[in-house]
Symmetry: C2
Subunit: 360 residues, 2 copies
C-alpha cells in the first residue's frame, strides 16, 4: 500500500492521507476508523459500482444511498436527494458521507457533505482512474447547472482517500481512457507543479504496460499523479494562482463537453482533444519547438483515445462557451499552455483569431 | 459610526469590520470599496426593503435581484434562483453578493455566495434588528429543508457588515420585537461570552428608550450585541463548543417554529418563549435562584412580546422535534440553561420528564 499526504498550507489541521493499492476496499473499514471519528457513515454510490464492488466494502454503522449514474445527473436534484436522505436518517453532525464511485459521485458527495448541517466529514473511495488520479484529490466539489459545468460547489477536503486500484479492472476501455487523459496531462505540467519524477519519460517508457492495466505500473502512476496534485493543492487550495495549471486542456475540453451537452465525449476524451489543441496553440504561438510538439503529440496518440467525431462544432460557438468558463474573468479566454517538457504557463487572454484558426 | 471587528482565530486572513450607525446606506459604496475588491456586485433584496430603502443604497457596478419575502421562501428553490441569476449575468469570481435585508436574505445570500463558483465575496447590509444584532454576524449561512430549519448551509464569513440603524425605523412593532428577543438573550449569556459590559443592567435601565427605538440607545445595543457575538465567534467559528451558547432559547424556539410550520411565530417570538422555558427549566433544576428568575422574567416581560397563542402544541411533539435539532446528537435534547446573571451552561441530555412538566 502506498500513501500520499495532502497538506493544505493555508488552513490549520487539514492534512489527510491518500491510500493507494490493490484490494484496499477490504481494509477500508480500518483505514476509516484510523482517520475519521464519524459515528455513522452514509455511503453514496450507484447501482453499477455497488453491484460490482459493494460486497468488498464492508463498513460498520453504514447506510447506503444509490444515485443515478452519469454526468447528466450531477445536478441540484440529485444533490438534494442525498441531503434529504441524510435528513431522513436523522444523521447528526458526527456522521460522514462516503463517496464510493467515480468523479460524479465524488464531486456531489463532497458538496453534500460540505453543506449538510454546515459540514460533516467526507471520505473518498474513488473507483475510476479519473477519480483516483485527479478528482478525488484536492477538495473541489460541485454540481453543474444550466450555465456550465461545476459552476456551483465548494472547496472541501476529505478526511482520507482510499484508491483501490483493483476496482479499475472492471472499467471498460472508454472509462480507462478517460483517466489516461488526466494522467498524460500530469506529464506535461510536472515541473511547474514543483516536482520532478521524470513522469513524461516514465509514461513514454511504460505506456504498453500501463495501457494493459498492469497494476504494478498503475499503482505507481496513480501515486505520482496524486503527489503532483497534492503538491499544487498544498500551495494553492483555492485556485488563486498555481492551481489553474491543473486545467491544462480543460478550457477547450469543458467547452466541448458543454457544446455537446455532456453526451458525446467523456470528460477525458474532451480533455484529450483539449491537450492537443493546447500543443497546436503553443506551437502556433512559438512557445514550444517542433521536437517537443512531436514527442507530446506522439505520447497523446499512443494512448489511442478513439475520439468521437467533433468537427461539426463551430469554433465561434466553442470560443463563446470558453468565455464563460468558470476560470475566466470578464469575457477573456484563458489557456494553460505548454512551454517546455513538464512546464506550462497561464495565458490570460488568448488571441481569438489564432485560436479560431487552430480550431478549424 | 461605530466599528466592531470580527476576527476568526482558526482561519488566516478572515478579519472583517461591522459598521454600525445611522444613515450608513449612503456611505455603503465607499465602505464596500474600502473592504472588498469585487469588480461587480449582485444585490439580493426583496420588494419591501427595496421600496423603502433601495433609493438610499447607491452602489456602483451593481445588479439587483429581488427574491420573495419570508421564511417560507428560505429554501433551495430561492437559492437556485439566485445562483441562476448570477450565472445568467455571467458574474465571474471577482464579483460579490450583497445581502440587503433581514435574516432570511442574509442567510440565503451568504449561502449562495459560498457556493457560486466555489465561493465569491459576500457583503451584509442587514436592515432588521434581528439581522443587525445576530444573524448578519458570524458567518452562518443556510436554507431550510423539509426536515428542519437551517439544516443545509455553510460557514462563510462576509467581507464587511454595514448596519444602518436608520433602517430599523420602518420596521413594524412585531419585527422590532423579534429582534429584541435576541437582544435580551445576550444579556443572559454576556459573561459566558467572555465579556462584561453590564448589558443586563444596561437593558433594564434603558428599556423604555430602547423600546421607543431611540437610536442613540439602539446603536449602543447593536454594538454590544455584535461585540458579544464577535467574541464568541472568534473563539469558536464552527460551533465545536462555546458557540452553542448563542442558542439559548433556541432549542425550544426552533421546535415551536417548526411545529407551527414557520407561519405562526416570528423567530424572535419563538425565541422569547424559548428563553422563558429555559428559565423555568433552570429554576426547576435548581440551577438559578428565584431572585434571578424573577429579574430575568421581568426583563423578558418588559419587552412585551405579545405572543400568539401556542398552548395547543403538544409537549410530546415538541420534544420529538427538539431531538432532531441540528445541534443535537443521537436523539438527545440539548439545552443551554442560565446558571447566573450573564452566565449559561450547556446541558447535553435534559431529563425529558421534567421538560414535559415545564412544557405543560
Amino acid at each position: 500500500m502506498k500513501e500520499v499526504t495532502v497538506d493544505i498550507k493555508a488552513t490549520k489541521s487539514s492534512k489527510y492521507p491518500i491510500y493507494i493499492g490493490e484490494n484496499l476496499l477490504e481494509k477500508a473499514n480500518d483505514l476509516i476508523k484510523e482517520n475519521c471519528k464519524a459515528t455513522k457513515l452514509l455511503v453514496i454510490t450507484n447501482e453499477k459500482i455497488d453491484g460490482l464492488w459493494g460486497d468488498k466494502l464492508k463498513l460498520e454503522n453504514a447506510e447506503k444511498f444509490i444515485i443515478p449514474d452519469g454526468e447528466k445527473f450531477k445536478n441540484f436534484e440529485t444533490l438534494i436527494s442525498i441531503l434529504n436522505k441524510a435528513s431522513e436518517l436523522r444523521l447528526d453532525r458526527k456522521c460522514a458521507f462516503v463517496a464510493f464511485g467515480g468523479g460524479v459521485i465524488g464531486d456531489m458527495t463532497g458538496f453534500a457533505a460540505s453543506i449538510y448541517r454546515r459540514g460533516v466529514d467526507f471520505i473518498q473511495i474513488p473507483t475510476t482512474l479519473l477519480a483516483q488520479v485527479d478528482s478525488s484529490v484536492g477538495g473541489k466539489t460541485a454540481v453543474n447547472n444550466d450555465f456550465g459545468k461545476n459552476l456551483i460547489g465548494t472547496f472541501y477536503q476529505p478526511k482520507l482517500v482510499i484508491a483501490d486500484t483493483k476496482t479499475l479492472t472492471t472499467l471498460d476501455d472508454r472509462q480507462i481512457k478517460t483517466g489516461f487523459a488526466e494522467v498524460v496531462k500530469y506529464a506535461f505540467i510536472e515541473k511547474t507543479c514543483g516536482e520532478n519524477f521524470g513522469f513524461f519519460d516514465f509514461l513514454s517508457k511504460n505506456i504498453e504496460e500501463i495501457k494493459k492495466l498492469n497494476l504494478k505500473f498503475i499503482d505507481e502512476t496513480v501515486e505520482i499523479c496524486c503527489k503532483l496534485k497534492a503538491s499544487v493543492v498544498h500551495k494553492d487550495e483555492k485556485e488563486n494562482g498555481l492551481r489553474a495549471i491543473l486545467n491544462l486542456g480543460h478550457t477547450y475540453g469543458h467547452a466541448l463537453e458543454k457544446c455537446s451537452n455532456y453526451s458525446v465525449f467523456t470528460h477525458g476524451e474532451a480533455v484529450a482533444v483539449g491537450l492537443q489543441v493546447c500543443f497546436d496553440l503553443s506551437l502556433a504561438l512559438n512557445l514550444i519547438d517542433e521536437n517537443y510538439y512531436d514527442k507530446a503529440s506522439d505520447l497523446i496518440n499512443k494512448f489511442e483515445f478513439n475520439l468521437p467525431e467533433h468537427e461539426y462544432y463551430e469554433p465561434e460557438k466553442l470560443i463563446e462557451t470558453m468565455k464563460f468558463d468558470k476560470k475566466v474573468e470578464a469575457g477573456k479566454v484563458r489557456f494553460v499552455l505548454p512551454t517546455n517538457i513538464g512546464e506550462v504557463k497561464i495565458f490570460d487572454d488568448i488571441n481569438k483569431k489564432i485560436l479560431k484558426e487552430i480550431l478549424k
